[in-house]
Symmetry: D2
Subunit: 399 residues, 4 copies
């Protein structure tokens, strides 16, 4: 039985929210490095049905979440047809798909970056098939998470060769998509480590740079994940903002994580509420910048302590906390005191001299009368600003 908590309230999810979950998230049976599965494996059709009941809009998948590794074409056909029917019945879409390039032992030393050309070939081929599947299901985004593209014994491969192999693969697959006339974009997902000691292109920043070196960079963006940047203690919000500023935020993986730990994939908002608030604020554009228009994908799973009922509580909690934080972001950014504190300091004389170099502007800068000591004495008011943010988050300030 689902909790009555979300009924008839302003935090209930709607299709406009574009909330999506992966088959592998709510379907996660709770196996971990030290223990066996605690929940039975759910059928994709059942997941779709339940997610729809919870208020989700979309469901995402790895190829092998739906079609088992090594299935025949006939099996694949039956499975896909049945899955499409369950999507239609539930009114759900598949906004994103991806390839499992990490579970089978063949990928134990990487897929696109393996030293073995046979493995690289196998990985490319599997991805082409995965793209076909994604397109068939209507996905508009294809995610690449190279979980095994890394090393523990770093002498095994020149990391420059790894990057070069990775580029060859993505260039190849972009051309494949264009050749097929598919309407799908790529979103690359970085992770610093786990399951490999170090994974190549470990952050959204490294990935953005890599994209800038691709043949078809216009069709490739990033899929940042809260947990992955947070593992390395980086500001997730800054990384996402850099992607947005470059118009490269094609998809996003929402969850929660504590810094410096194994990949936790916790319920969205259940750790570091401040970063979660700042992220929602950034994505929703409540402070004035461009809004993110894509899916809000929850790449998380329920605690291993939970039975199936706990899994659906988890799913509803992700969406609910997101919506509570949207409300609070709006309240914060419309607070007059906040607006005062974050107002841009415009200076009609100086501003134009700071962009677009000319010798004249350089001279103008040199001639300015600037009192560094006086400027250094001015307080920024950020303790007040941050405290106001905490109080809006906590619901203490009236909206």
């Amino acid at each position: 039985m689902l909790s009555p908590m979300t009924e008839n309230d302003r935090y209930a999810p709607t299709p406009e929210d574009q909330f999506s979950f992966g088959l592998w998230t709510v379907g996660n049976p709770g196996r971990d490095p030290f223990g066996e599965a605690v929940r039975p494996q759910l059928e994709p059709a059942e997941i779709v049905c339940k997610l729809a009941q919870c208020g989700a809009w979309g469901v995402n998948l790895h190829d092998n979440d739906l079609v088992p590794f090594g299935s025949s074409a006939a099996e694949r056909g039956r499975i896909v047809a049945a899955f499409k029917k369950s999507l239609r019945d539930a009114g759900m879409v598949v906004p994103m798909a991806t390839t499992n390039l990490f579970s089978h032992p063949v990928f134990k030393d990487g897929a696109y970056t393996s030293n073995d050309p046979k493995v690289r070939a196998f990985a490319l081929r599997k991805t082409m098939e995965g793209i076909d599947l994604g397109v068939e299901l209507g996905a508009r985004t294809y995610v690449f998470w190279g979980g095994r593209e890394g090393s523990e014994a770093d002498a095994c491969r020149d990391p420059r060769t790894a990057i070069s192999h990775m580029r060859d693969a993505i260039d190849f697959l972009c051309a494949y998509v264009k050749d097929q006339g598919y309407d799908i974009r790529f979103a690359l997902e970085a992770k610093p480590n786990e399951p490999r000691g170090d994974i190549y292109l470990p952050t959204t920043g490294h990935m953005l740079h890599f994209i800038s070196t691709l043949q078809h960079e216009e069709m490739v963006g990033v899929n940042p994940e809260v947990a992955h940047e947070t593992m390395a203690g980086l500001s997730f919000v800054h990384g996402v903002a850099q992607a947005m500023e470059a118009r490269k935020l094609f998809h996003i993986d929402l969850n929660a994580q504590r810094i410096g730990r194994y990949d936790q994939d916790l319920r969205f908002g259940s750790e570091d509420l401040k970063q979660a608030f700042l992220l929602v604020r950034l994505l929703e554009g409540t402070s004035g910048g461009q809004r993110y228009g894509g899916p809000r994908h929850f790449d998380a799973h329920a605690y291993r302590t939970e039975d199936q009922a706990g899994v659906w509580e988890f799913a509803r909690g992700c969406m609910r906390t997101y919506k509570i934080l949207v409300e609070r972001a709006l309240s914060f950014d419309s607070d007059p005191e906040v607006r005062d504190l974050v107002a841009e300091h415009n200076d009609a004389e100086i501003d134009p001299a700071l962009t677009g170099y000319s010798r004249e502007k350089a001279d103008r800068l040199r001639a300015l009368d600037l009192d560094a000591d006086a400027l250094g004495r001015r307080g920024c008011g950020y303790e007040r600003l941050d405290q106001l943010m905490i109080e809006h988050m906590l619901g203490v300030r009236p909206a």
Copy 2:
């Protein structure tokens, strides 16, 4: 008195090694957040003289390491002339210079990314003057470390605005250099945090991407620092390799650091010898890739427990460990067993199909007979490879 350790031996530094130190490194008086200076401030001329005696080739500086903040033009002139003389006397060069945009309170909320256009103007102007100074001293690389370009109260500024302001500043300064006809390149240095809660463009990866968005990206590269990437637990070697692969490694800051701590700037090689070994191997190209041709700059300082004699031990230790590791990298990469273990697996049939998509290549991949299970059973031999590396490092394997 200097230690006799390095006399007449194969690890003694030579000018060809291009070892450099900053005035602020060996000149560091040992102040920290919890305690006062423990060593007297040395004069630049004395530092130059002592560094030359230790075997260093170059000395780097922030503008205010040499010319105090707020000096008059006349004072500046006298100081610079005297410094040039001490360089000539010692046979030292200034390969790199940079701007101090972090010590004075005016920069307390950033320099190029400050909300206050007056501060941004002041920072730009100070940098132009710093570049003039660097060029006058013969520097070929100008480093940008935006230590205060960040936030603790993240609502204070849209991070996209910060990146945009940063871009304006670097574009402006590139144009300034071109307009002046200077022969100097920029090297941007990333750091994840400290002294700010989060610093924008926190890793070499983020910085490389930022560079790809600049007007004059060809004159801008990176200056990765061991300590800065290591603070976030990222593989320094992978980050440097990504920069090298993109021909963007313009400068490098060598030191040592433990993961997840305050910025330690320890003696090169004194922590994480394996990463240090892998780094030296990468920079020196002993495994076959392109060699890094620029300065080997030690951006480190002696423990606060040391007196002045300890500082020179520290400096000699940095260079000596680097050279020991060069020797070991050569020995490792010429070991036949190692060469066997890391040999590229070439496959005349498959390799050409993996790059440069064509419909025919896609078909060829689809037609390949690949046995995933058999491929997955093959061992990689990496435990052996890594153990060999440890033993070469430890000097157990004969060269």
Copy 3:
């Protein structure tokens, strides 16, 4: 001018809250490793007056926060008399005092653990004088933070010797207090690193064990600090709980910190609201356990971006967030659904067999009919529980 935010509201601090600040916290001038002070040094009397206006109850100090290093007895006398008067005028108390054993170069390689007996002697003597000062000011707790008791070059000293020296010092000082007839207890404060590479007895756990080896362990407890345990990514709440369970929580340092970073000492509640909530809940005993009866000390300081007004905003924010979280903890722990979810599972048959071994109890356990698979299938309901906690924190659930 102080913010009107806290007037006439239920979150306004009262003396019963026992909120205290250190002279060094609100008096922090904003110097950091990369920059100079941004705020003038305040006089102790002014700090006392302002803290009282903000609603604080107590003020704490290091010896040298009040009496400069090397002051004569006469100077000391004048300073202390004046300070006592300002305390009386403001109605403030000094609940805790401590010794500065880290700023002067004499302590650069430790105080009680220095290799040099002269330094150890100096440190002991300085502490005796500090205790005298603390007692004179009415302090009931004397804190020991051994910030320099550590190493970077770990070969410098056997860590067992360091622990032994530390024990000698604390045993000596306990005996001194007893001999003087002072009514003061010791609270030891752990920190994993910074300013040393590694500090001995790095966590509250290590410190609790160390205390169990002391001659007068009954008069020694711990002073855990949020930032210090959090730097190492440990659960602060679990550490504090272990101390409370052992009746060793003698004092507490409240602030905020992100994992794996330099010591940030941020405004209480400004990072990791969930841990802050759980901590307040633990200290206040809202879930039923024993309540902590000592001072709520804020060992934090304002951002370096702030002027003096920002410092007082910071101080008020610490107290205000604490009180908001008290309210939310009460609301959470009185929610019937929460009480159901966390109810102890009592079992009249089994419970008595689990404590106090006897052969008969062992046999009883062996004879129990326990279905492991069935037990493993039961869900714990923790996703629901945690989501309820988030919602109580955010003020979404009615009290």
Copy 4:
């Protein structure tokens, strides 16, 4: 085929080295959170035989490594008899045994600290049986690793209750051992997190304190693991030293780990060679302190990239690097320059005044003529000391 690297050389393992491995370490099939097993499951008898060939002395086990969960008494009997035979045949011993309290779903929310008394009863009973098994196999140490004794949703349980439940369990089991007349000691193993968000008693320090609160503390010590303390960025050497100083180092788990990551369990010495060196030096007592006399247990496993041959390379590498480091520790600690640098500064006048308080000693300290500034100016020589250590490690200094 085993590598010829270790034949006939001074680093070949001998029984005197007391090197041991767990069945679960060399028997690890390479499953991880993102992928399936890559190696077949080996039979215990085969592991014993191979370990003996590699030069190991002992083999350790969890109950279910040998006897599958749920086996009948008859099956158990057959398995144990066969295993004893393989031990005799191979000349191997079982120095340590432990209980698997983490794999089965029944333990998903903890074993001794579960909220459910049935689960606690099941865990106690399973441990009694595990102790019986260990004693039958000749084990002298019984390890407790409470991998699931923790939480993600921390409101689920008062951490004080968890500690109290844990104490009840260990007290019960100590009494059981005494009642049975077994000659076996307990060694408690801490870990900060993974597979739980936070594990109770997260470090060796917390565990040492917990032990001090037990009824039979004399029979309980610690089993520190390199990876576990290193995950939290703590100095493993300091933690082990604290245990040794308290005569509580009953067992040790050797492996390697990078800070702030998932539990890696890497080959001993393959990461952080400096800590590995300092650890070997501490355990072997080369610098003069007490030597550790127990097993050198490698709780590590081969990379997932390896086949079975790689597993045995891994095992030999662990032992070999240990022995190389013993050699280097001896060389370092017998270097006259090193001995000079680390010599205790004895002071016949001051030393006696620093221990064992008396009023007279306090007065003597007060009367000492100590020049803090002069003491602060003296350099410690630690850069030289640490560099010498690096050079001994690297084999550059003659022995």
